[in-house]
């Protein structure tokens, strides 16, 4: 770890020597393992170590960046100089620069690293991928094929050094297991996907459970048909609910707000959502996949309430966009822009079954495709598949339809939130119901 920090510090030194006023370097070393099985064959095995370094330089209020996988001394020195040269062509900006203060380096209490990711033998990881393939087929005879099962993991060392003397580093790990079974439905193939992700293998959902859920998702769509065009309540199951949260994140990203590309641009302090809409960004939840001790600028992560019972409290900032509006960074700097820590909707009490049971008539959405959201107006539209709900029960599967609405109306229309929140990626949500949306079919 000391050697990696020294490399980041040397990159900062090269930038300062080339004429930068301030500089910051982030080193990334990632040990990755990936395997895929299909049927009874192991079809892919990949194992590598990736190394890269990102440098930000500031000169007279102008910013330039460098990202490189070439870490040779010559390359670092040369490209650091080129970055400083490039900054001469950038406009001076009084808000550009490093953060005033940085955090305490590292934080073991966050439990971001699990030794089992590195220590677990490759044979066991491969056996998991094969087991996923075996169990999806055993679960139901109508599962005739698959697009493969994957087990993927990584352990990553992040090191960050800047010219103000900050030096920090931390290890983290991730493990994923996922499968994509295909059910035969007459002439049609019905594919489904389901997976699990966590900081350690030990915390993953059991392989059998992953396979059974995936198989159920494929089989339950057999016989799906196109619904009639209508307006009705819509329940978003948690995987697709998290995609709606991603659209909301885009609109509270201060970089989008700054250029007017957000339907929430002038809504701070306004009651936009329903009483049930409390949305939080939290970088300090132990073991969660969006957690880190400090953000991409070395600012300690924190918990920020973005919506409190429907009222928009704040946008999410890095140092630059916070300075522009006289605010403080919320420690959301990420990869050269603004990104989520753990961005999530606070869960409610009912489980998904209870949510369905309390819906006399509506649609349950299990999967969406496409990404047609206009952040500037909040116009939302997606391809979808799922179920028609009649009398509080799943009546029949439907596909090849769209759901549409406006994110403002959707936030205001959240009338029930489920309990099924899992921190398996950085933007997550429990299932929720929206009072009314447009279903477009026949």
């Amino acid at each position: 770890m000391a050697a990696e920090l020294e490399l980041a510090e040397r990159a900062v030194g090269f930038a300062i020597a080339a004429g930068a006023d301030e500089a910051e370097a982030t080193g990334l070393i990632s040990y990755r393992f990936s395997t895929e099985a299909r049927g009874i064959e192991v079809t892919k095995l990949e194992q590598s170590v990736g190394r890269s370094l990102a440098l930000r330089v500031f000169r007279n209020g102008a910013k330039a960046t460098l990202s490189t996988s070439d870490l040779s001394e010559d390359a670092l020195r040369r490209f650091a100089r080129e970055a400083v040269d490039a900054a001469r062509f950038v406009g001076a900006d009084q808000f550009a620069g490093l953060p005033e203060t940085n955090g305490a380096p590292g934080d073991a209490a966050l439990e971001l690293f699990a030794p089992d990711v590195r220590e677990r033998p490759a044979e066991e990881k491969i056996a998991d991928a094969l087991a996923l393939e075996r169990v999806v087929r055993q679960t139901d005879a109508r599962i005739v094929n698959s697009s493969g099962s994957q087990v993927v993991d990584s352990t990553t060392l992040v090191t960050l050094a800047n010219s103000k003397g900050f030096a920090g580093s931390y290890w983290s790990s991730q493990a994923h297991a996922m499968t994509q079974p295909i059910a035969q439905d007459g002439p049609n193939k019905r594919i489904a996907h389901y997976g699990t992700a966590a900081r350690s293998y030990a915390a993953l959902e059991p392989i059998e459970s992953v396979a059974e859920k995936a198989a159920k998702r494929a089989v339950e769509m057999i016989g799906a048909r196109k619904p009639q065009t209508t307006r009705c309540p819509v329940i978003f199951e948690r995987d697709v609910a998290s995609l709606v949260l991603s659209d909301i994140f885009t609109a509270i990203n201060a970089a989008n707000v700054a250029v007017g590309n957000s339907f929430l641009a002038d809504k701070v302090g306004a009651k936009v959502g329903s009483e049930l809409a409390t949305i939080v960004d939290d970088g300090r939840l132990p073991r969660a996949l969006g957690t880190s001790p400090f953000d991409a600028e070395g600012v300690p992560t924190r918990r920020t309430v973005v919506f409190e019972r429907g009222v928009l409290q704040t946008f999410l900032y890095d140092t630059y966009y916070a300075r522009r509006v006289g605010a403080k960074t919320t420690a959301n700097a990420a990869g050269g822009g603004i990104g989520p820590n753990n961005f999530y909707l606070l869960p409610g009490n009912p489980d998904l079954e209870q949510l369905i049971a309390s819906t006399p008539r509506g649609v349950l959405v299990l999967d969406t495709i496409g990404f047609a959201t206009e952040s500037v107006t909040g116009t939302y539209s997606r391809g979808a598949r799922g179920f028609v709900i009649e009398g509080g029960e799943l009546a029949y599967p439907i596909d090849e339809f769209t759901i549409a609405g406006n994110l403002i109306e959707m936030l205001a229309g959240i009338d029930e939130v489920g309990s099924d929140l899992i921190f398996d990626q950085s933007i997550v949500s429990p299932s929720f119901r929206i009072a009314e949306m447009t279903i477009s079919g026949t």
Binding site: E73, R190, G441
Partner: protein, 476 residues
């Protein structure tokens, strides 16, 4: 120390031979992909150049194939030890039996390949920076001058040169230098409501491209779309006749047909087009090509990432499915040949069968005849993108600019919405094909299994007799 003793030059032919010989111990085929890619990008925001960036990606990937199994490892360190380690890891994980050693011999010089690119000139960053800044400033002025409703303009220019060396255990040895320039402008306009517009251009050529295709033209087009969208009304919901505009409408083919014809899905039997060569999959008006040779297009490649020259492929001919797009692995397993479709995002990942530039042959109808034939429907002028689920074939494409058609004429502009359909079903509903076929502006990028590659799309004006349109306007 990771900063010292690392080499960053392309391995010589003897080293590549030894790396491949080591790798081949684990299977029947091995290849090495060396890449060095330098990208410079400048971004304008709020009327000033906001940021400059340099990105350097440099590494070598080794792949070993044994039957259906593929082992892979990459290294960013070009010392002999690191290269042999990558070869050993790739070989070990694909091994189907005892270790073997086989000699691999490469030609002394890489093969000469015809270039699919426009003139390439590598200029120094210092010389080129003034050009980038000038183009951005001109775009900013043009966007703001285009219409008083324009509130903000963002522009990005990106200039990339990817140098690859590909060597395979069966003796293929090629080099390629691939340029890619992109200029994109996004505008926000405020009128009755807010609207955004994006437009971009570029291709596999040098920055000189923007002398003819000026930043002013690109900026004005982005501004025009933003202002149009200010006045947009809710897109209706339900089934409508849809006229898909020439050019960027090619996203339709890319999603409805293209992905489903990629070799991996068909070898695995997971695509709805699996085993259907020779069958009718579209209206007889439909002929679709994928072409890796079109000069300067984003999806064009002198050689693909497995060293195979770019090709012109007939995918669908008069509605009949003619062929799939193959990389080495899937072609071999299906007893076929690579179609030069093996592409990858970088040395860090294995290649997959991918599209290059996908387009439909022109037909007999004029634009006026096609639009004039629709009593009430949707004109989809351009698309922001699309997505497909290849097993059942349901796909969406997302409207970036659209209009209502009433009594054969374009009327109100429409808010963005998804259109959804099933590949063969929609392609069978092609009832008119325009005589105005063209390629879309060059800014599309295709994502598959987490890998992003530049592509081209193209289409003549096309009429689809009925498609489900996913707006929120209900009962209108």
């Amino acid at each position: 120390m990771i900063g010292e003793g690392r080499r960053s030059m392309v391995p010589d032919v003897t080293t590549l031979e030894r790396v491949l010989s080591r790798a081949l111990g684990g299977g029947e085929y091995a290849d090495a992909f060396y890449e060095r890619r330098v990208t410079r990008s400048f971004r304008l925001q709020d009327g000033a150049v906001h940021e400059a960036g340099i990105s350097v990606a440099s590494g070598l990937g080794v792949r070993v194939i044994a039957g259906e199994r593929a082992g892979y490892a990459f290294t960013e360190d070009f010392s002999d030890d690191a290269l042999f380690e990558a070869a050993s890891v790739a070989a070990l994980i694909a091994r189907d039996g005892a270790a073997r050693t086989q000699e691999v011999h490469l030609p002394v010089e890489p093969a000469h390949v015809a270039s699919a690119y426009r003139a390439i000139e590598a200029r120094s960053l210092r010389a080129e920076s003034a050009t980038y800044v000038d183009l951005l400033a001109r775009a900013d002025v043009a966007a703001r001058a285009a219409d008083p409703r324009i509130r903000s303009a963002n522009a990005v220019v990106s200039d990339e040169l990817q140098e690859v060396t590909i060597a395979t255990s069966d003796g293929r040895f090629v080099r390629d230098r691939r340029p890619l320039v992109t200029f994109g402008v996004q505008c926000v306009a405020v009128g009755k409501e807010r609207g955004t517009g994006f437009y971009g251009d570029g291709g596999r050529t040098s920055m000189d491209y923007f002398t003819e295709h000026t930043p002013e033209e690109i900026a004005r087009e982005a501004a025009r779309i933003a202002c149009t969208n200010c006045d947009a009304i809710e897109t209706p919901a339900g089934e409508f006749a849809v006229v898909v505009g020439a050019g960027s409408g090619g996203v339709l083919l890319h999603e409805a047909v293209g992905h489903g014809l990629e070799g991996d899905f068909n070898r695995q039997g997971t695509s709805l087009y699996s085993g259907r060569i020779g069958e009718r999959v579209a209206s007889e008006l439909v002929t679709i090509y994928d072409d890796g040779n079109l000069p300067g297009e984003r999806g064009s490649l002198s050689v693909d990432d497995e060293g195979v020259p770019g090709q012109h492929k007939v995918l669908v001919e008069n509605g009949i499915l003619r062929g799939y797009m193959h990389d080495h692995l899937n072609a071999k397993l299906m007893g076929s040949h690579s179609t030069g479709s093996g592409r990858r995002q970088s040395y860090r990942v294995m290649p997959q069968p991918r599209m290059c530039n996908t387009y439909m042959e022109g037909g007999a109808s004029s634009y006026d005849e096609i639009v004039g034939s629709v009593k009430r429907g949707i004109f989809a002028a351009s698309f922001a993108g699309g997505q497909v689920e290849i097993s059942k074939g349901d796909f969406v494409f997302m409207l970036a600019e659209g209009y209502l058609i009433e009594d054969g004429k374009l009327t109100a502009p429409l808010r963005g919405a998804s259109l959804i359909g099933n590949g063969p079903e929609v392609m069978n509903r092609v009832t008119m094909v325009g005589n105005d076929g063209r390629l879309a502006a060059r800014y599309y990028t295709c994502g598959k299994a987490g890998q992003y590659v530049p592509v081209g799309v193209g289409l003549p004006t096309v009429k689809l007799s009925a498609v489900t349109v996913g707006g929120s306007g209900f009962g209108g």
